[in-house]
């Protein structure tokens, strides 16, 4: 355990990309999951703002760079296998999801099918422009 406690997340796993969960520091709500490489992890620790690696754009993704909805990081954890990261964050602008909802997890699987459970807080077209 001493050894594990001295080493951080193991970016030799997952081809250099580890899943990172963002959780609301105040309410515990899970807001989103994205991926981090070593560089984004280090910048997150340094700036205390969540920085991910965008797999689609293949570059660092400073969360909120386009929307203004930054995530202020209050604490950082990683798991027993050192291959998943957990951030507790204050979500600026109240919405983490690019669809304008607070959490990306707005589809609930119920006995009556899939329900949309999240309210839209902002209009994506107004934030990002027409797509």
């Amino acid at each position: 355990m001493t050894e594990a406690a001295q080493a951080g997340p193991d970016f030799s796993k997952g081809e250099g990309l580890l899943p990172a969960i963002a959780q609301d520091a105040a309410t515990g709500e899970v807001l989103m999951l994205a991926y981090m490489n070593q560089e984004s992890y280090q910048e997150t620790l340094k700036t205390r703002r969540a920085v991910y690696y965008s797999r689609s754009r293949q570059r660092l993704w400073r969360k909120g760079e386009e929307s203004g909805n930054f995530q202020e990081v209050t604490s950082v954890y990683f798991d027993c296998d050192r291959d998943t990261i957990l951030l507790k964050v204050n979500q600026v602008g109240q919405a983490a999801c690019h669809t304008g909802r607070r959490s990306c997890f707005f589809h609930e699987v119920t006995d009556d099918g899939i329900q949309i459970v999240g309210d839209q807080i902002f209009d994506p077209e107004k934030v990002y422009g027409p797509r």
Copy 2:
């Protein structure tokens, strides 16, 4: 949005394995992250117990099959991109982690280095035998 609301998680992504977050239904604590394939997802919905796919063992992993620490699933969500699953669970036996801790996220990254923040609830040797 109507279309997205009719389709479930997209297992054509991630080479058939999607990350699944288990969150304590009562407290909101994030307990662990594991992976699901289509089969484990379907069995989870049917049995209301968390079933993952073990990447190391390359087979279905019925959480608790060895330790008895099952996860009773109270609700199931997936995200905007349909490539991450979130389970709210009741963790039987109080500990989700194979190290005997409640949460797998027991390493905290602080200014003073990495701290172990989770108490051990069970002795892994007693549950799994010597390794």
